[in-house]
Structures are given as structure tokens and as C-alpha cells.
């Protein structure tokens, strides 16, 4: 369960970081990208546990979050330094 809560926060943090890194490449102002990423993360944070608990076992959603975390971390790394 602790793992699921940690994965939940890590996933939201990476969503925020990815949005902050990616949106300026589309011409969005950096401050707008930072705010948009954080706001999406804050909304996701309490919603994800609902899906975790809707599943019969917490392992499957935790593993799914782990996969998403790995993919997002790779994407942030591939995008390189901030624009």
C-alpha cells in the first residue's frame, strides 16, 4: 500500500515535470507550462487511489503506475534540458 501511495505521487510529479518540459516546445510560455503541469498533477493525485482501490488487488494498478512512471521518466530524459 505504501508502494502504491509513493507510486501515485511519483506518477503525478512526472506528469507535472513532463508537461513543464514539453509544453514550451509547442510555444507555450514556461510559466504557463509549469502551472498547467502542476494543476493537472494536483487533480490526478487524489483521483488515482480510487482506481487503485477499485481494482481487486493493489498490485496490478501499482505495476501499471510503475510502467507509466518509467515511460514518463524516459520521455522527460529524452526531451533534454528545459527550452
Amino acid at each position: 500500500m505504501v508502494l502504491a501511495v509513493g507510486a501515485n505521487y511519483a506518477l503525478c510529479a512526472l506528469v507535472a515535470a513532463a508537461a513543464g518540459r514539453w509544453l514550451p516546445r509547442l510555444g507555450v510560455a514556461r510559466i504557463e507550462a509549469a502551472a498547467a503541469g502542476d494543476l493537472v498533477a494536483i487533480v490526478l493525485l487524489p483521483v488515482i487511489p480510487i482506481f487503485v482501490f477499485a481494482a481487486r488487488s493493489a498490485w496490478r494498478p501499482t505495476l501499471a503506475m510503475g510502467g507509466a512512471i518509467a515511460a514518463l521518466a524516459l520521455a522527460v530524459w529524452a526531451m533534454g534540458p528545459p527550452a
Partner: protein, 487 residues
């Protein structure tokens, strides 16, 4: 899903209750500030107050390289001010608009105590803020899972059977309070996290700016970014009162605070930040003036959609836009949140007590903390009002002593709850809270404060409202004590 609702509610319940209770009190932070500093009267001319405060700060702190003053408004009678010198030494004082000097009379935390506790929990930075954010996030999860768990939630709204007693009555009460102000509870918890977003979720800015956080803060508050370096050429500071009037016209709103950068230098800047009058959103708009000539230099552009959304959510939480009626709704929503959490915590014990032949340590701990924290927070809030009037005026760090009284009252209530049988603990602590709340206006009147009848006679509604609210809370806790003694 019921498991999630039960355990997130229990784990964060006491903390969220403390946050809700102090947040509810903070809705009337300026009025509480006025109550704690009874020497101040309502000031009709905020610009003159600003000028007096600016003059006083320059006189008292000639080495200050920047200072900030919040003008009095229809609610706040004092002016918060802070300044810093070239070495980064920081000072803070609450000033009297009539003189510009620090408010006469005993030093006090004023409304700041509840406000700061609400999001910092009196813990060192950033741990208190992080704990408050985590508690708020757990609370949102508890609300959403609670809605899913109670499938008949809207039918439950019309179902309250206090005569049935026991678990049924507590569950009905919990459901009723939950549904009554459900949107309020949801938005206030979510927007609470938004107000501390850079502490709790700093990864958007990290993604966009990397390690260059100075650039992030410059973009977030453009009015104070790119200020010119000191020239070393002295130049008198232009009077700020006429500039305040020009700033209002430029910003199409009222002034939240004034910041003067490098006063007395030719590069001085006078910055007026707009308040959120006429809008829900917290405003980052500001008018920047040349401090030497008084010329209007710039007004930052309006924010983009994401920042505007953030400012809207921030403003929605702070409720600075709200008129008197809406502020009372926020207050009642906060009280209903306290009731929701308290009934949920009690329900946890009521639902398990019958199944346990002999209560184990964990169960007993929950029982003790339920009565101790719920009634202890009420006693601590009321205890602050007593401490504000009764602590010696010359006490060193008197605001710190008020904080100690607040925490000691909470700790004493938890200890008392541990030493007494639970039903008696609830009744006795509720009685103590009733006496503390109802007695605060009397203690105030007898110890240098303005009495309720004098406030009523002079038409000082703000002061009278605080006293009447304290009396009403006293009556409420007396009712709770009577019910708890009977059950």
C-alpha cells in the same frame, strides 16, 4: 472502496480536523485581528495610513533596502509591514494607520495564529506545509471514496434519526453533514493544496525551468522582476499617498499591498499590487512607479490561461473576494467540515466498540485522540482569546507565549481524555470548551478589551460579531456537553 474511505479518514482525520478548525476561524482573520488589538479604530483613509507607515519605516529603519505595507481596508484595522536591510535581516510589525508606528498595547499574534497554524501547523518550513498538503490530498480521496461508498448519498441527506442512537445516528449525522456541504469540502481541500503548490508539487516549475528557480519566480511575479540595481545616487522618495490613487486608477481595483524597493536611491521603485476586489482570482497585477519622480512605469500584462486558473483556485480558497454573507457561508461550511470529520472519527469507534470484548491499545488510542483532538482544538481556539487578554502586557515574546498556550491547551485536553472514561471525557471537555468560548467576551471586557455592549452601542459590528460568535460557540458546546452527558 469502503476500506479506503475508513482508513484515509482515520489516518488524516485528526490533522484535517485541526486544519479545518483553524481555517474556519481564519475566515474572519481581520476581524479577529481587530478584536485582539482593541486600541485600533476603523480607518476611513487607507492612503494616509500608507503614507504614515512608509514615513515611519524610513524613520525607524533608515538602512532598509525594501519594505512592504498592507493598507487597512474595510475589515483590517492594522497594517502588516515588513522590511529587510542589505544583509538580508528581516523585520516585521503591525502598524497603527493613525500614526504609522507599531500598534500600541500588548503584542499579539492576532488573527495570524490560526491562519499560520492552518497551513504550517506550527512546524518548521517546509514540513508543516507538506503535512497539511498530504492531509488535504488524503481528505479529497476520503471524500471521493465516501461518495462512491454511500450509494444512497442523496437519499441519506433527508435521513437523520438521532433517536435511534448508536451507530445509526452517527452514520446519519456523518452523511447529512457530508452531503450538506459536499462541493464546499471538495473544493476547499483541493484548492488548499493549490495554495501550496510550489511546496507540494514543485515538478512543473522544475520541468520548465530546470534549476533556474529565480527565472520561475520572476515570471510568476513579473512586477518585482528585473528591478534596476542601486545607483548610489540619493534621491528623495516621492510621496506614496498620491501614487496610491494613481495606482488604483491604473489597476481598476483596490490596493492589496505596497512594496518600495531601494527607498532613497535614484533607482527606487514603488510597486502597488492589486487586490482581488471585483474578482474571485488572486491578482498578480501591479503598477510600478519610479520612486524618485513618481512616474508610472509599467503595469504587467494579464496572466495566461493556466496561471489565471491557478489564481482563480487560489482566490477561491482564500475567500478574500467574499462579501459578509458569503464569508459566513464559508464559516458555516468550515464548521460543517469539522462536524463531518468529528462524526466520522466517532463512527469508527462506535462501529467497533460492540465487536470488541476488551478494547485493545489501538482502539483506546483512537478514542483518546478523538475526544482530545476534537474538543482540545475547540478549547485551544477559545484559549487563545483568553491568553490574548490575560498574558502580562510586558511579557517577552508575548505572541510566542500565545502559541504556547494554544498548544498546551490542546495537549492538556488529550492528556485529560486519556485519564477519563470516554463518555465523561467528551462531556467534560465539551463543558470546558463551552466555558472558555462563552467566557472570552467577559474576560475581554474586564481586562482592557472593548465590551460587547460598548461595541453594540458604538455600532462596531466587527467587534460585536466576534464576541457574539464566541458566545454562540459557547452555547453550541454547552449543548454538545449536555447531549454527551445524557448518552
Amino acid at each position: 472502496m469502503s476500506w479506503l474511505h475508513t482508513w484515509t479518514g482515520l489516518v488524516c482525520g485528526w490533522l484535517v480536523f485541526a486544519i479545518f478548525a483553524t481555517g474556519t476561524a481564519s475566515v474572519f482573520k481581520p476581524e479577529i485581528g481587530a478584536w485582539t488589538r482593541p486600541v485600533l479604530a476603523a480607518q476611513p483613509d487607507p492612503d494616509a495610513g500608507l503614507q504614515r507607515a512608509a514615513d515611519a519605516i524610513r524613520r525607524e529603519h533608515p538602512d532598509a533596502v525594501s519594505f512592504t505595507v498592507a493598507p487597512p481596508d474595510g475589515r483590517a484595522r492594522d497594517m502588516e509591514s515588513y522590511w529587510s536591510d542589505a544583509k538580508g535581516v528581516f523585520g516585521q510589525a503591525w502598524r497603527d494607520p493613525a500614526t504609522g508606528a507599531a500598534v500600541a498595547g500588548p503584542a499579539t499574534s492576532g488573527g495570524e495564529l490560526f491562519y499560520r497554524f492552518h497551513f504550517e501547523l506550527m512546524a518548521p518550513y517546509p514540513y508543516g506545509r507538506l503535512a497539511a498538503c498530504l492531509a488535504a490530498a488524503f481528505f479529497v480521496s476520503a471524500i471521493v471514496s465516501g461518495v462512491i461508498t454511500h450509494k444512497r448519498i442523496f437519499a441519506d441527506f433527508f435521513t437523520f434519526r438521532p433517536a435511534k442512537g448508536g451507530q445509526r445516528a452517527w452514520l446519519d449525522g456523518h452523511n447529512l453533514l457530508g452531503v450538506l456541504a459536499l462541493p464546499f469540502h471538495l473544493f476547499i481541500a483541493l484548492t488548499g493544496v493549490v495554495t501550496l503548490i510550489t511546496t507540494f508539487m514543485p515538478f512543473g516549475p522544475v520541468g520548465a525551468y530546470g534549476k533556474d528557480m529565480a527565472a520561475f519566480y520572476a515570471d510568476a511575479e513579473p512586477a518585482t522582476a528585473h528591478l534596476p540595481a542601486a545607483t548610489g545616487r540619493p534621491a528623495p522618495l516621492a510621496p506614496v499617498a498620491p501614487l496610491a490613487a494613481a495606482a488604483r486608477a491604473s489597476l481598476h481595483g483596490d490596493i492589496l499591498r505596497l512594496t518600495v524597493d531601494k527607498p532613497g536611491d535614484a533607482s527606487a521603485r514603488v510597486i502597488f499590487f492589486r487586490d482581488n476586489s471585483g474578482a474571485v482570482s488572486k491578482s498578480t497585477q501591479a503598477a510600478v512607479f519610479d520612486g524618485a519622480t513618481g512616474a508610472l512605469l509599467s503595469a504587467p500584462p494579464p496572466p495566461g490561461p493556466a496561471m489565471a486558473t491557478y489564481e482563480f483556485l487560489y482566490g477561491l480558497h482564500m475567500a478574500a473576494f467574499a462579501g459578509p454573507a458569503l464569508r459566513w457561508l464559508y464559516f458555516l461550511g468550515g464548521l460543517s467540515g469539522c462536524g463531518l470529520i468529528a462524526t466520522g472519527l466517532v463512527l469508527w469507534t462506535v462501529a467497533r466498540r460492540r465487536k470488541l470484548a476488551r478494547p485493545h491499545f489501538g482502539f483506546r488510542l483512537v478514542e483518546v485522540l478523538n475526544a482530545g483532538v476534537v474538543m482540545g482544538m475547540a478549547m485551544a481556539v477559545a484559549g487563545f482569546f483568553w491568553a490574548c487578554r490575560l498574558l502580562p502586557a510586558g511579557l517577552a515574546d508575548r505572541p510566542g507565549a500565545e502559541r504556547h498556550v494554544f498548544l498546551a491547551t490542546l495537549a492538556a485536553a488529550i492528556l485529560y481524555s486519556a485519564l477519563r472514561p470516554q463518555r465523561r471525557a467528551w462531556a467534560e471537555l465539551a463543558s470546558a470548551a463551552a466555558v472558555l468560548f462563552a467566557g472570552a467576551p467577559l474576560v475581554s471586557a474586564l481586562s482592557g478589551g472593548r465590551s460587547l455592549w460598548r461595541s453594540a452601542a458604538t455600532g462596531d459590528l466587527a467587534m460585536a460579531s466576534v464576541d457574539l460568535t464566541l458566545l454562540a460557540l459557547g452555547a453550541g458546546f454547552a449543548f454538545i456537553a449536555a447531549r454527551a452527558a445524557r448518552s
